[in-house]
Symmetry: C2
Subunit: 392 residues, 2 copies
């Protein structure tokens, strides 16, 4: 995008992150408390007078608070769910006040392993606690308090973000109207955990990891991050999508009989790994995969997922994608079954898609029209106040 | 197994590897020639007078010539396909003369990257050529010549071994009666190549790899080998098999909130990785995965797999396993379709199994009875000569 380009139609336009500090300790599921922490967030649209039109967007592994629009000093840094969110888009910022937030433990501005530990004056590194989906949602609730939002019209997320949407309905049943749960699973399978563990081992056995305290040494476990990202990418795409995108195409003419990049898919993976290792924090990666592994609401109800939703009150939209083998449609149906057991309102859609787990980020017509219709049906007490400010 | 234990019923008993040197250069597909090389092999049963009862067993990634029986000095070192091969077993050594061979480029005794390069007096290391399925089969054919075997009654293999069985029918159509092609694919998919590439990158970016010349430095890229093996294991097992075997079981009581081994599946993977890194050669791993990536008989016929089999004469038994997501039944059906297009004799069976790709190594009744029936139907010109020697 040229710097002089006008805003794309439907874009929320130029946005800027905001930052809030919390001094009340946040008790974590591990038993540890985070004494002080900051959250970085962005908002799009206007909070209405009744403060009833807020929608929280929860991020998955590789994303953060920059969900829509672009930055004045980086016009091509477009939010990760910009195709969904904006004026007139399926999640319409003319009606809704949309919030993106970077979770604690992250590496995009909220307090995380690279932040300075007030107890030592040094980066937390290995000392940053293991955080969970429950912890993230608890921190998001404090952000809502700060913004004066008693109740979200909706919380939406894909993959790990969807787990947060689920957790909102369990941890704060009165504070959420609708949960939009996309490409989710009620808990990881052994295979899911296994992939995460290989990624963690790649990072932790990188000689530049130094037990998590690499910041002071001026190194980054890039080898491990590259491998972690490559493994991740394979699980985000379907076999068919990879076959369509790369097939067995070679970069050069004929086989090379050496170990340089040879097939296009190798080039793609190496490039993705390289990019990721440039900006993502290894300690954050470890913690986010652990949060994925741990999420299992039914663990508190003896393995009974239906019982886990006993106190939920939200309405749910659950969406899965046919070619998603990381969190297959069968995993979403487990969630739907548990919701129905509790006579909760649930709409379920299995979207035909070739794009695997990543489909939740794609601009698929059927998928986006479904979201548009669902959000259009969410009543907000009052229309947004134009020109006013919704924040206290 | 106790040292004093009697041989298990159906075992071929104590076996010993044999070794043969070849001085005639072996031209490889890469254009490079291997001037001299050795092959290590084992045989079970007796070659009959007509030399018509020989069955070659081709190995996949992590296996070699030790296919059946055990060693006098290591009674618990049992061959990798011992459950299939022996007197009275599905591949009956009372009828067949069975040969296992370690492929060139391997790390179990045949000439490979750790062998001394006669040109330098040092281990080949990075200089060992990239070898292919075609090269392996060409070397196996020379072993057959050495043993006086003009024609194999059958060539059998699973996974990469099955690709060698296919290649026998293409490269040496008159020298093979039956090809037993188990858990195969006619070529790797982009996803298959992607997993191999991640494993290779894990090895090649290990600081102990030293560009493949680690032997002289007294180190081994164990971190990379561990990761490669962990990734491999995930693809060998099905999601369901992992769920049945490990589920979300923890090693300890409750969540640990740290990065030590926590879930049972993590423990399993780390153990498998550790074991593998103790004995497997990294340069061999690189070359075997490359041979997998390269195998694509239809590449020589413009992508037309049916045309690739135009000169094949063998009869085929093709077996796939329902839960194999590495080489799914659909991939086997591609092979079957191409064989039928050529009016070749083909028997195809899709075996119900939870065990994923690894099912081909398992002692599954339906699977083994099928192999038993198939081998029983293979005519050999004469019964094996008891007490005589079949080798020239």
């Amino acid at each position: 995008m040229l710097l002089s380009a006008p805003p794309a139609p439907g874009s929320v336009g130029i946005v800027a992150p905001q930052r809030v500090s919390f001094d009340t300790p946040l008790p974590l599921l591990s038993g540890v408390s985070l004494e002080r922490y900051e959250l970085v967030y962005e908002t799009y649209g206007r909070l209405n007078a009744a403060k009833s039109n807020a929608v929280l967007v929860c991020h998955a592994l590789n994303a953060a608070h920059h969900v829509a629009g672009y930055y004045a000093d980086a016009l091509n840094n477009i939010g990760w769910w910009d195709n969904l969110i904006g004026p007139g888009k399926p999640l319409d910022t003319e009606r809704f006040f949309v919030i993106g937030v970077n979770n604690i433990g992250g590496c995009h501005g909220s307090t995380g392993p690279a932040s300075v530990n007030p107890a030592t004056g040094q980066p937390y590194g290995a000392d940053f606690p293991v955080v969970t989906v429950e912890d993230w949602v608890a921190a998001q609730a404090r952000l809502a308090d700060h913004l004066g939002i008693e109740r979200f019209a909706a919380v939406i997320g894909g993959s790990l973000g969807a787990m947060q949407a689920i957790q909102w309905t369990l941890g704060f049943p009165q504070r959420i109207g609708h949960a939009v749960v996309i490409a989710a699973a009620p808990k990881l399978s052994a295979q899911n955990i296994a992939f995460n563990e290989v990624a963690r081992q790649a990072i932790m056995t990188d000689p530049d990891f130094h037990g998590g305290n690499y910041y002071a040494r001026g190194v980054v476990p890039k080898r491990g991050l590259r491998l972690a990202r490559m493994i991740g990418h394979i699980t985000y795409l379907s076999d068919d999508a990879m076959m369509e995108k790369f097939g067995r195409m070679l970069r050069g003419d004929g086989l090379a009989f050496n170990f340089d990049v040879e097939f296009q898919v190798e080039s793609y993976l190496r490039h993705q790994g390289e990019k990721f290792a440039e900006y993502f924090d290894a300690n954050t990666y470890l913690r986010i995969t652990k949060a994925l592994d741990y999420f299992d609401p039914a663990a508190r109800t003896g393995g009974d997922l239906s019982a886990a939703f006993a106190h939920a009150q939200a309405s749910y939209l659950v969406i899965s994608f046919t070619s998603d083998w990381r969190f297959s449609p069968a995993r979403s149906r487990e969630i739907v079954k548990a919701l129905l057991d509790n006579r909760l309102n649930v709409t379920y859609a299995e979207i035909e898609s070739l794009h695997g787990h990543d489909a939740f980020l794609m601009d698929d017509r059927e998928y986006h029209e479904l979201l548009r219709a669902y959000f259009a049906g969410i009543a907000v007490d009052a229309e947004p106040v134009r020109g006013g400010t919704g924040t206290p």
